[in-house]
Symmetry: C2
Subunit: 182 residues, 2 copies
DNA sequence: CGCAACATGTAAGCGGTTACATGATTAC
DNA sequence: GTAATCATGTAACCGCTTACATGTTGCG
């Protein structure tokens, strides 16, 4: 499933522009599916070319025209076909964990900075999720609630794990093995 | 941090061939950093070209020669520089969660199949992790233990979340909204 | 005065995946 | 016999990231 298919899915919720979709990628989808303008606009153009969406130009005063996209019947069929995949992937790519694998090559200060930054990022996500709950969550479909809850649970667990296990990363000398022993 | 840097890190633990590194990517790194031969072999060639590793040819009987790589001083410097990044990324790309966002467009059977397959994958990972604990974990550096524990905690939490919240994905009719209502 | 928000796009590049190519040995 | 393990690589492709390009309105 690529950016095109996710855009198609977002459009089942109502018409939207590329700019609107980008905001959705940045908010409710940010913790599991990133996409920038560089993938969204070409995706929408390709979908329009293939008859999956229809495009309506909406002129605006003082601002550039909006191009508002609507999903077509063919688009819905394509989306439903994509949703038939029984084994959708769930991939993690973590420079953080790769870095921690080599913690014994780092100083204590370096390790602590990395861990603090990670905890901060997860705290920021949890804050974002709390804002969804207190504002726009009421009309969400069950799937979106499930996914929000999933993100919250993961972020909390990650933060807890890092906080409770960070001590295990430091050797007894407390200086990291950059300090020669022999 | 790319495949090249991770290979360099793995080589701090001792010399290895591309084939050996692939096995490490498939085992202890599999839950957070994927890499196939198509990235590993070119990475090792580039590292050798840049003086980060040295290559030794080891002839074998009946099998192709092994190319065994050793990290150089320049390689170690390069790795330590890479480890100085205070904000290493931790990215999730999940077709699974994207799919679940649109669960209201799927039948109950489809959703259940997807969830079952996800639970199975996490159970397989937990089995793999348990095998590490009972076999080769003794001589692991603290960072590797931290990362293994991280993976275990995440997988357990994910599995639990899916099992405890799967009911929320089904609407009252129990047929999915592919069945027209009006 | 500068920055953020609004709004759309292109082009180069990068990094990784997939498929292909080869070939002996060992275990079932 | 047929699949898996050992062992290394290339080339085409794909999809995403990054940087660039343009221009107005409104806020502090």
């Amino acid at each position: 499933m690529d950016v095109k298919t996710v855009c198609l899915g977002m459009l089942t919720d109502g018409e939207a522009s590329g700019y609107d979709l980008k905001k959705e990628f940045e908010s409710s989808f940010s913790h599991f599916f990133a996409a920038g303008y560089g993938s969204i606009y070409p995706a929408l153009n390709a979908l329009a070319r293939d008859g999956m969406v229809e495009c309506r130009h909406v002129p605006q005063e003082g601002k550039p025209d909006r191009k508002v996209y609507t999903i077509t019947a063919a688009g819905r069929d394509h989306l439903l076909a994509a949703l038939e995949n029984p084994c959708p992937s769930h991939k993690v790519r973590s420079e953080f964990l790769a870095t921690m694998c080599f913690a014994h090559l780092m100083s204590r200060e370096q390790i602590e900075t990395v861990l603090d930054n990670r905890v901060k990022e997860m705290t920021d996500y949890l804050q974002l999720f709390r804002e969804f709950e207190t504002t726009s969550m009421d009309d969400w479909p069950p799937g979106a609630r499930f996914v929000l809850g999933f993100g919250q649970t993961m972020m909390k667990t990650m933060r807890e794990y890092v906080e409770e296990n960070r001590d295990k990363l430091f050797d007894k000398t407390g200086t990291g093995n950059k300090t020669a022993i022999g």
